[in-house]
């Protein structure tokens, strides 16, 4: 089963829940897909067994072949190439280049070549019995999606794969949730949490991925998240009240279950109910 942990809003406790779920299930895998800000490794502290570089394609102009006709510049939808006929210069803005191949297609002189640039790293390893994988985009890369794509490729062959998504509801999150049998949404009961939960729920419903909720720091804020869940018939699997011990443990990179082993049963129950939701989807 692929179980995605997502949220509209950032900082609601996705990683906290995802790591806890990975820790209670035997033979699980944990895949960190928040490639802009991956944090799962700070809690699982895996021993790394493999590091793979992720690259992206950018173009370069071969000045020996270029006749400065400018067709590539005119065809590029991203304004990533400038050809100066008068001074016989060619400039590629690599941050704008998507590697789409249009320039090479229109070039009459075969003067466009493709090169690879580093975009990120995917690391794999083990943390106790958990197989871990994490995508991390480079801080000097312009886009996150090449790294996400590589992270989602050939997911680990484990009975339970926990996928920790990035916040929001962009195409990248959709690509992540789409790979999942069931989605756990983590939110907090505030106006921001409520607003972004609504977006996240629209997304999971649109994708046909069954979803349920954990309300974290459940005693801050107001009732609007609970009212919303009742109205929308979203199952709330667990509420975790604010606890300074959890916050302090989190600060030091200690997992929820290390700080609050008494929650083991409750997290196990969340996992069982998510399994049931995923099975229900299979039966429909």
């Amino acid at each position: 089963m692929n179980l995605c942990v997502a949220s509209g809003k950032g900082g609601t406790g996705k990683t906290t829940l995802a790591v806890s779920l990975a820790q209670i299930a035997p033979d699980s895998a944990y895949v960190d897909c928040d490639v802009e800000a991956p944090n799962g490794h700070l809690f699982l502290r895996p021993s790394i067994t493999r590091k793979s570089e992720v690259t992206r394609v950018v173009v370069a102009v071969d000045l020996d072949k270029c006749t400065w006709c400018g067709k590539c510049m005119d065809a590029c939808a991203y304004h990533a190439i400038v050809i100066a006929h008068a001074t016989k210069r060619a400039l590629v803005f690599e941050d704008l280049c998507t590697g789409c191949g249009v320039c090479g297609f229109v070039c009459p002189d075969n003067a466009i070549r493709e090169e690879e640039r580093p975009a990120g790293v995917v690391t794999e390893g083990y943390s106790d019995g958990i197989a871990t994988r994490a995508g991390c985009m480079n801080v000097d890369a312009p886009h996150a999606h090449p790294t996400l794509k590589a992270t989602l490729e050939d997911l680990p062959d484990r009975p339970l794969v926990i996928i920790d998504a990035e916040p929001g509801v962009t195409g990248r999150v959709v690509d992540t949730v789409r790979r999942s049998d069931v989605c756990l949404l983590v939110t907090e009961p505030t106006p921001f949490g409520r607003h972004d939960l609504e977006l996240a729920l629209m997304m999971t419903r649109h994708l046909g991925v069954p979803s349920a909720l954990v309300i974290n720091r459940s005693d801050i804020g107001d009732e609007s998240v609970r009212d919303f869940c009742r109205a929308e018939k979203v199952p709330v699997l667990l509420e975790i009240p604010f606890d300074r011990r959890i916050a302090a443990g989190y600060a030091d990179g200690r997992t929820l279950l290390e700080v609050r082993p008494d929650l083991r049963g409750a997290i196990g129950n969340v996992l069982e109910r998510l399994r049931a939701l995923a099975r229900g989807k299979g039966e429909r």
């Binding site: 950032g10 191949g101 249009v102 000097d140 997304m203 107001d222 300074r244 600060a251």
Partner: protein, 295 residues
């Protein structure tokens, strides 16, 4: 001269939006607010606001196949680098359709199609808005779900904010940025006078702060760091100060953990009567932020 300050964090949920709202409404003089988190826009929730303008956002053109002209040769799907073509087998052949969400609008298929069956059409990928708040105008946006062009929409709200500042003679643009370090964050930070990185006292907060500071440095923007909710883990302050300094940024102050803040936000009283303990901290910090603005 109009100054631009962007509030970012790397990690989500550190308090960017609440602090930006408080600074803008209580401490700044005549600001324009820009919510550059176009994916999960929350700044409008912090204020009473009324919608002034709504604009559709057309971020790109996408390819469309004219099925009446298509000869089902498959050149388009072979060439597309983004996997945007959906192929449907039908008896002895296949039909090809474009998934507009996967199409990056590069036009390669339309140029390569031997039967000229593919055209490019404008694609709406969200809306952007101008609203009025009691504290100044607010530009915000909503990217449609599953869209990827968040950087372009972020740039659009930035431009609209600059136009408003000029029209209404306002000398500060306060930008509430998204979490992360990707194209949307880059769009929020490009060309600003100062980046304010709001972090939290945790290993994650420090890790993601360091990543966003690296992006900020690459963009050539000066930065300061604010440590929010400091008393949840006071021992984190020194490592965060050190990590910030290693990336060329000063930790200029801290904000206490205020458990009443979410409720004040929910009750709509956050701006007019913030929880005690927050008011003086916010004024002091704003003065320090302002003193770090380059001349």
């Amino acid at each position: 001269m109009t100054r631009q300050i962007a509030v970012v964090s790397g990690k989500g949920g550190t308090g960017k939006t609440s602090l930006a709202a408080l600074w803008g409404a209580r401490n700044a003089k005549r600001p324009v607010f820009v919510d550059a988190d176009v994916d999960a826009s929350n700044l409008p929730l912090a204020f009473r606001h009324t919608l002034r303008e709504r604009h559709r956002f057309i971020g790109r053109e996408v390819a469309v196949v004219d099925q009446a002209v298509c000869t089902e040769c498959g050149v388009c799907t072979d060439l597309c680098r983004f996997g945007a073509f959906i192929t449907r087998e039908n008896g002895d052949g296949a039909s090809y359709e474009v998934d507009p969400l996967a199409c990056e609008g590069c036009t390669l298929c339309s140029l390569a199609c031997p039967s000229h069956a593919i055209s490019m059409v404008p694609h709406e990928s969200g809306d952007w808005f101008v609203s009025d708040t009691p504290y100044g105008p607010l530009v915000h946006a909503q990217l449609s779900i599953a869209e990827g062009n968040s950087g372009k929409l972020g740039t659009q709200v930035r431009r609209a904010g600059e136009d408003l500042a000029e029209e209404e003679n306002r000398d500060l643009i306060l930008i509430d940025g998204p979490p992360g370090i990707g194209c949307q964050t880059i769009a929020a930070l490009t060309g600003v006078d100062l980046a304010v990185v709001v972090t939290e006292p945790s290993a994650s907060g420090r890790h993601d702060m360091a990543r966003v500071l690296a992006v900020i440095a690459r963009l050539g923007v000066p930065a300061v760091v604010i440590l929010n909710k400091v008393d949840l883990a006071p021992a984190q302050e020194d490592p965060i100060r050190l990590a910030a300094a290693q990336h060329g940024a000063d930790l200029v102050g801290t904000v206490p953990f205020v458990p009443e803040l979410p409720r004040a936000l929910a009750m709509g009283t956050l701006i007019e009567s913030p929880p005690p303990g927050l008011v003086s901290a916010m004024s002091v910090l704003w003065a320090r932020i302002w003193s770090h603005l380059p001349d």
